[in-house]
Every structure is written in structure tokens, then in C-alpha cells.
């Protein structure tokens, strides 16, 4: 359960990224966050795992007040929240398996952390995660040899290996072609259903958002202007979110 109570987030330069946010997201929901670039979608997502600090209000994730956490507690919170990025953010020089294995680092004893030695059990878990996203055969391939879609799946496997309750996805399909984007969206939907993980996703492709997500939150200029079922989103709602602008159809 994620709860925003009158949340405001102001950047150090004075710009208000989020204003007056009140929203509740239950465990297991699949939420798409849509809006113009710079509207505050990324800020919204990044507040949840304390990559950004909120400046006013309360943000409660699974009964803990995120803003009051310090040092080790923040890392504890982040262990339970997976994050997926537009540019995958993998170590490109390493193999897919090694990238996934990093998920286990915080729980390892110091000497294994330093030397980067992983147990058989950890390797089995990492390979299982790769299998869940269908790229088990690429486990020993260096990430820079993989296609964009495969790289995003490695990132997804890395997050799955963490077994988080919540997955935050920041434009996960923005740098993928339409076919691959659909596959990756399907992966998210499957994980959301099978493992009951909450998925909160920023997305520019409105058609994909409506097809896969169950709930849509529209953000404009740092404020929530729409919050409802994906099936209830109409052209009027979209033009409201996009400030009168019609979303451009994806090619």
C-alpha cells in the first residue's frame, strides 16, 4: 500500500515538481502514469523509493513514513522496491547473469561482497529470474551484445531477483520498438498478476498504457488531473491531461 498525503516536492532551484498530491495505490495494482514530459511523472515515481526527497506532506509505503527514514532504513525500503529505467542502466561490460546477481549483494557477507563471489543458490535464483523473462539462453552473453528488448528484460530479471513488493518503471519501453515494447509490457502484466507485485509505470505510449494497465493517473504541471480505471479514459480525459494537446499516435 502506497499513500501520498498532501505531498509537495520542490527542487533546490525552487521549481515545484509535485503539488498537492493525494493518492492511494493498493498492493497488486498496475498503474500507468501519463502526462507531458516535465509534468512530474518521474518525480512522482522517484519519491516512492526516496531517490527524491519530498518537501511537504507525508508519503507512506507499507506503513512506513518514507520521509523519516535515514541511511540504512532507506536502503531497507529500496530492497523492497524494484526500479526499471528507460536506458536499462545495466553494467554493459558484464554478462546478463552478473548483472542479475548484483541483486543479492546487500545480503552477502563482506568478504564475498569484496571479491564478488556468489553461491550456487544465488546463481540458481538469478538464472530463475532470467528464465521468468524468457532470456535464460542469454545468461552468459555480455549485455552490450544484447538487443534493447533483451537488455530491458535483463533489467527486469535483476529487479525480480530482488523479489520486491513494488516495481517502479520509469519509461521502460520508450527506447524500444513497438513490437518489443508490447512484449515487455506483457512481461510486466504477467509479473503483476502472477506475483501480485504492484507496478507503477511512467509511459508516453498512451495506447500501450490503456491496453495493459488497470489504473491510469494523469499528471499535469505537478498535479494529478485524472485518476481512474484505464477503461474509463476517453479522448476528453486525454486532452485534459495533455493540456488540450492530443497525444500523438505512435508509429
Amino acid at each position: 500500500m502506497i499513500e501520498f498525503k498532501d505531498v509537495e516536492m520542490q527542487y533546490p532551484n525552487g521549481f515545484k515538481g509535485l503539488k498537492n498530491i493525494n493518492v492511494q495505490i493498493a498492493q497488486g495494482e498496475y498503474v500507468a502514469v501519463i502526462g507531458l514530459s516535465g509534468a512530474g511523472k518521474s518525480t512522482f515515481i522517484r519519491c516512492i523509493n526516496r531517490m527524491h526527497d519530498i518537501t511537504k506532506g507525508e508519503l507512506i509505503v507499507n506503513q512506513t513514513n518514507v520521509h523519516q527514514l535515514r541511511g540504512k532504513e532507506i536502503r531497507q525500503l529500496r530492497r523492497n522496491i524494484g526500479m526499471i529505467f528507460q536506458s536499462f542502466n545495466l553494467v554493459t561490460r558484464s554478462t546478463a547473469l552478473k548483472n542479475v546477481l548484483v541483486s543479492f549483494v546487500p545480503e552477502m557477507p563482506l568478504w564475498r561482497k569484496l571479491l564478488g563471489i556468489f553461491t550456487q543458490e544465488e546463481k540458481r535464483k538469478a538464472l530463475t529470474a532470467l528464465d521468468q523473462v524468457g532470456i535464460l539462453d542469454k545468461a552468459f552473453v555480455r549485455v552490450d551484445q544484447l538487443s534493447g528488448g533483451q537488455q530491458q528484460r535483463v533489467a527486469l530479471a535483476r529487479t525480480l531477483a530482488q523479489t520486491p513488493g513494488i516495481i517502479l518503471a520509469d519509461e521502460p519501453v520508450a527506447s524500444l520498438d513497438p513490437m518489443t515494447a508490447k512484449q515487455v509490457m506483457g512481461d510486466f502484466a504477467r509479473i503483476n498478476k502472477e506475483m501480485n507485485m504492484t507496478v507503477i509505470m511512467n509511459i508516453h505510449h498512451v495506447d500501450l498504457a490503456l491496453a495493459y494497465a488497470t489504473r491510469v493517473i494523469g499528471i499535469r504541471a505537478g498535479e494529478i488531473v485524472y485518476d481512474g480505471q484505464a477503461s474509463d479514459v476517453t479522448e476528453a480525459v486525454l486532452s485534459q491531461i495533455y493540456n488540450g494537446q492530443q497525444p500523438v499516435e505512435e508509429v
Binding site: R78, R79, M83, N89, V91, N99, V105, P106, L114
Partner: protein
Amino acid sequence: MNFNVLAKRHITLQNGKVVVMKRSTTPLIILIGLILIYFSVQITGFNMEAIIKRIDQFFVILKEMMQPNFSYTTKLWQPLFDTIKMSLLGSILGAIVAVPIAFCASSNIIKNRFIVISSKFFLSLLRTLPTLIVALMATFIFGLGTMAGFIAIFLFTIAYVGKLLYEQIENADMKAYEAMHSMGLTTVQSFRYAILPQVLPNYLSTTLFCFEGNVRYASILGYVGAGGIGLLLNENLGWRNYANVGMILVMLIVTVFIIETISEHFRKKLM
């Protein structure tokens, strides 16, 4: 270069158009160069006569060196290995110690500006100290011998590898690092798993290159009593035993060549 503004030449064409041409600055530059050479000759006490008279002595020494004393080799192995040992140990330990210092000096990893600036200042301070002077000071502290040479090389390696490493770290791709932070890894853990794999090949290559240079430096360090083959070089030059000097130089050239070839081979593989 604008000191020729006054010396413009006007050329009038037949149809009355006037073209302004800048005079070439080359003669002036040559003149200044000649004046500077004249003064430097005066200041340094350069003596052409001495060169012409004494130049044959240079060839005498060279000729004696050209007939190296091969029987001297038996006495050379130990100091030669001392030289290699102190540069190897100094390079390895120096490169290891350079990692945490470079970590602290990287502005993209450490957000505390005071730590970053003081680490960078420490590294540039170490780099400014000439190795020979450090070795000399080390002989006062640790006594004559290879220990002093090791310290000098150790400190130089920290400065050299540390500087290049923090520049590598600052230019590294931070995306994976950000992802690891979002997964709940600490700064040190994220550095170990996101940045280190990126900079490792370059770091090893730098260390090898530094080791190459250190073998050459180490052979001179004996001059200030810091052990190794330089000590013998100094002695034999003092005794004017040029055949022995020649032998030492031959050994050094061969050793440095072998080490450079090996290091170059591995550095190419790392790239």
C-alpha cells in the same frame, strides 16, 4: 600576434584599388629567437671551444662502454633483481592503495566537496614531489637500501595511478550506479559492482604502464642510496670503470625491453 599593426604595407593596383597587406612576422620572431639564444649562451657559460677540444673524450668513454665487461654479470644479477623487486612491489601496493584514494577524489561518487578536493590535492602534491627526492628522504628515514627505493616508487605509483583512475571514474557511465542505488546498495557496494567493472581494464593497463616506467626510475634511485642497480652504476662511473658501466647499461636495456614487451602484450589484450 598584433605587434605588426603599425607595419602594414599598402599596395595600389593599376585601377586605383588599395590592398592592405600585413607584413610577415617571421623575421621578427627569428630575431627574438637569436637574441634569446645569445643571452642563454652568456648565462649558461656555454663554451664552443670546450666542446671542440673535449668531444673526443666522449667517444673515448663511449668506446670503452662498447666493450662491456661480461664477467661482471655475475655480480649484477642480485642488484638487478633488487631493482625489479622494489619496482614490482612498489607498483602493486601503490596501485592497490590508489583505489580508495581515487574513490574519495571522484566528485561523481563522493558528494562531500571537502573530501574530494583534499584527496585531489593530496594526489597532486604526491605527483609534484620528484621521485629522486622522495627516495633521498626515504634513505634518511629507513636507511640505505631497497626499502627507500620501494617507498619512493610506492608513493609515485599512488599519485600516478590515482590521478588517472579518478579521471576514469569521473567519466564512467553512472546509469548502472544509479540503478544499484535504487536497489538498496550502499555507495561503496554500487561503486564495486557498477563502476569498477567499467574502469578495471584501464586501471590494470595504467598499472602495468606505471610498472614499466618504475623499472626505469628504479635503476636511477641507487644514485641517492636507495638500493638496486643504480648503486653500482654510480660506483663504476665514479671509478671510471666504463666497461662495467657498459655492462650495467646492456643489462638494463635488455631488462627494460623484456618488461616493456610483456606489459605491452597484456595491455593490448586488456583494451
